[in-house]
């Protein structure tokens, strides 16, 4: 399988995730979309690791997974806090700063 195919799949996944982050108003759906984008980048790193016969890309993928775990924990805590104040996980409602 050519490396290009893996890279294109990664690009498609990344674009899907980016669309989700911008289009969805539900904070939980936005976090899911961010996970998709992180996984797209992981796939790209792993495909490159395979292409060049180096392990560095796989190691980066491990660190991305660890950082994603931290990001999800903090992100979901923030969403829960927002939901406690606004009764809703709709990010359009959480616009306190705009007055």
């Amino acid at each position: 399988m050519p490396t290009t195919a893996y890279l294109l799949l990664g690009a498609l996944l990344f674009a899907l995730g980016a669309a989700g982050v911008v289009m969805r108003a539900n904070a939980l759906s936005m976090l899911v979309s961010v996970e998709l984008m992180l996984n797209a980048v992981n796939l790209t790193f792993v495909a490159a690791a395979k292409r060049f016969g180096e392990l560095d890309g796989v190691i980066v993928a491990f660190f991305v997974i660890a950082v994603a775990a931290a990001e999800v924990a903090v992100g979901l805590a923030i969403v829960i806090d927002v939901a406690r104040r606004h009764v809703s996980v709709d990010v359009d409602r959480a616009s306190d700063l705009s007055g």
Binding site: L28, F52, V74, V87
Partner: protein, 179 residues
């Protein structure tokens, strides 16, 4: 190579198609619990692709940490927030951002695809031997990347404490509204 389709190609085609369909479902599904389940399917199909590339340990980590721990966290949060499900986004049929999101995603993909298809990957310096040896992976993770590894563990601890502090019910605050 023969004209026959290799097993790797079949694996990639099937797993990639499932991955994309589940990802689209995860992004555009209104029900967040269904989106979380679709996310699991996406992550598992990516694990299959990693397996096809020969990275067994990464596939195992993908299933255990990603499809396991992270999605479980998602599911718990969705259930905690079940009373606050954002049906609001569905009441307004159109947000201005919908068009912007579609345009951004299309342009982003066009740029990435152009870069991937028109650019040429540099030739591998070392022969692309299969670097799947678990010994080599342990050496890389615990010797060459030891400092980032330890920093990542501190980061995880900090994130854990931060999550507890953020999600904790403050005594001065009112209870959950409309329980």
């Amino acid at each position: 190579m023969d004209a026959l389709v290799s097993a790797e190609q079949v694996l990639f085609a099937v797993a990639g198609a499932i991955c994309l369909l589940a990802a689209a479902n995860a992004v555009f599904r209104k029900d967040t619990l269904a989106a979380a389940v679709s996310l699991v399917v996406t992550l598992l199909s990516l694990a299959v692709i990693y397996l096809g590339l020969g990275f067994e340990f990464l596939a195992a980590v993908q299933v255990g940490v990603y499809a396991g721990a992270i999605v479980v966290l998602f599911t718990i949060a969705i259930m905690i927030l079940s009373h606050a499900r954002a049906n609001e986004s569905g009441t307004r049929a159109w947000r201005r951002l919908d068009l912007a999101g579609a345009v951004i995603a299309a342009v982003l993909f066009a740029l990435l695809a152009a870069a991937i298809l028109r650019g040429s990957l540099p030739v591998a310096v070392t022969a692309p031997a299969s670097p799947t040896d678990i010994d080599a992976m342990a050496d890389a993770l615990f010797v060459r990347f030891l400092l980032p590894f330890e920093v990542a563990s501190v980061l995880l601890l900090a994130a854990l404490v931060a999550a507890v502090v953020l999600a904790r019910k403050r005594s001065s605050e009112r209870e959950w509204p409309r329980r």
